[in-house]
């Protein structure tokens, strides 16, 4: 009985501060200490969310943002993963590509926005390109490093027990690098949302970032705050998904 109480306290306690802050926020907004033009009350934001949900605007913007994030991520992560694998496993590939990739990595990808707009315009290509570019490097670095740091003694064991080529790769090298690869993926998910926010805010005609910028023109504070909250929600969800796969694939690491 007592243990049950402790367990529910453990579950509830982390939410105490966020919930109190929310209540406080609502309270000061209602009293009028903070004006609606500085920060709208939580209930106003929820109202805006319902309004946009009902007229379908929220769905359109959210789905286009998600789609950009997903496609950009898939392209960038695949390229980073493949190069990380190749350069981690094959010496000549490493010699040929690694130096160049390390040089490119040091260019902040958001600095390319003006160039990308001139190249691709403000259509989908430019946003997907930027997301892919941002995601590529963390995945590359962690895949490469993960493969390079697989325990050499395990590889030797595998070879002496008759594993070679594909078998050695799938039974020893890839599982050995997996935890580092997943760290890279989680990091790159953060980069993915960051890039998308910036790209959509600067140049877009749809998406959450555009919704926020558009709301600014009409001084719709509630919609602006809503957009920020939606980005936070997206970020949190992708992190939860990444953690789920970590738990699933790294079950042995406990």
């Amino acid at each position: 009985m007592k243990r049950g109480i402790y367990a529910s306290v453990g579950k509830l306690l982390p939410w105490l501060i966020p919930c109190s802050l929310l209540l406080l926020w609502q309270l000061v907004s209602m009293i009028g200490i903070i004006s609606e033009k500085t920060l709208p009350a939580p209930t106003d934001i929820m109202e805006a969310a319902f309004r946009l949900l009902l007229n379908g605007e929220l769905y359109t913007h959210m789905s286009i943002s998600l789609w950009r994030a997903l496609i950009g991520f898939l392209i960038g992560a695949s390229i980073g993963f493949i190069f990380g694998l190749l350069n981690g496993v094959f010496r000549y590939s490493d010699l040929l590509f690694d130096t160049s990739i390390q040089m490119l990595r040091n260019i902040p990808h958001l600095a390319l926005i003006p160039l990308v707009i001139l190249w691709f315009g403000i259509g989908e290509t430019s946003k997907i390109f930027l997301v892919a570019l941002g995601v590529l490097f963390p995945v590359y670095i962690n895949t490469y490093h993960g493969i390079k740091s697989v325990d050499k003694r395990l590889i030797e064991m595998g070879k002496s027990y008759g594993l070679k080529g594909n078998q050695l790769f799938f039974h020893v090298i890839l599982p050995g690098a997996l935890s580092s690869i997943l760290v890279g993926i989680r990091f790159s998910l953060g980069v993915m949302w960051l890039t998308l926010i910036v790209a959509e805010t600067i140049s877009a005609q749809s998406g959450i970032g555009y919704m926020a910028m558009n709301a600014r023109e009409f001084m719709q504070m509630d919609v602006i705050v809503l957009s920020i909250l939606i980005y936070a929600l997206f970020g949190k969800i992708s992190d939860v998904i990444a953690r789920f796969f970590e738990g699933k694939w790294l079950k042995w690491d406990t």
Partner: protein, 264 residues
């Protein structure tokens, strides 16, 4: 499991030379090992005993001389041999049964289960290695080595990191499986008592060569309380220590490793 008894391979090593850079580790080493013989190799740390084992496994190349197994010169990885490492080297991301069946076709899983049963771990087949104790990990490593029915089993201080009681259990297990299957076995150890307890013959490596060769004709199972047992241990220990010290005392393993650390 094969019901037929497997017979070990004979090993002939002639004038073996292995050096790292300019420093020779093995310098003209000769030894012949009979099929099915259990040989223990002792020597100070850094004397090259583990290197010899790695050469026998084909994990490294040597510069001169030859290693001949069953009439065939060893080239590249030794397919007749399986090596058991001191640190176990189980794959942490594979369950026990999958660790044992590594390098085997999937249809041999039954064989893997049977092998696990032989080392007494049938009920742990679904566990990850991180759940096992040090002794259990080495049992899995032993099962993994034996499932390939090697004609030569190489043991690179596999019991070095285990506590005394577990070590005795493992020695009995290895001895029993060796008697049953009759493979040739070469054990590298720093524990002279272990060498005398389990092997037919103890070899001492010094200056890159076999400097001392002691048959152990004691009947099995061997009792450590047997006075002859103590005699063999003492003889071998005094051989190891002869060079540097004149005291022919019987030294315990702890004193030995202390001396080692002082000398280094």
């Amino acid at each position: 499991m094969t019901s037929l008894k497997q017979y070990g391979v004979d090993v002939r090593i002639d004038q073996l030379v292995k050096s790292y850079g300019k420093r020779p580790v093995l310098n003209g080493l000769d030894v012949n090992i009979q099929p099915g013989e259990f040989v223990a190799i002792v020597g100070k740390s850094g004397c090259g005993k583990s290197t010899l084992l790695r050469l026998l496994a084909g994990l490294e190349d040597y510069q001169e001389g030859s290693i001949i197994l069953g009439g065939e010169r060893l080239k590249g990885l030794n397919r007749k041999a399986r090596i058991m490492f001191q640190d176990g080297r189980l794959l942490p991301w594979k369950r026990v049964l999958d660790n044992v069946s590594i390098g085997l076709a999937p249809e041999h899983r039954e064989k893997a289960e049977e092998q696990l049963w032989q080392v007494g771990l049938a009920d742990r087949k679904e566990d990850f290695p991180s759940r096992l104790s040090g002794g259990q990990k080495q049992r899995v490593a032993l099962a993994r080595a034996l499932i390939h029915d090697p004609q030569l089993l190489l043991l690179d201080e596999p019991l070095g990191a285990l506590d005394a009681l577990t070590r005795l259990e493992m020695q009995e297990l290895i001895e029993g499986l060796w008697q049953e299957r009759m493979f040739t076995a070469i054990l590298v150890t720093h524990d002279v008592e272990e060498a005398v307890a389990i092997s037919d013959r103890v070899l001492l490596i010094e200056d890159g060569k076999i400097s001392f060769n002691q048959q152990i004709p004691l009947p099995r199972p061997r009792k450590r309380t047997n006075p002859a047992f103590g005699m063999y241990v003492e003889t071998i220990l005094s051989q190891i220590l002869k060079r540097e010290n004149d005291f022919h005392m019987l030294l315990s393993e702890r004193q030995l490793s202390f001396l080692d650390s002082v000398n280094n």
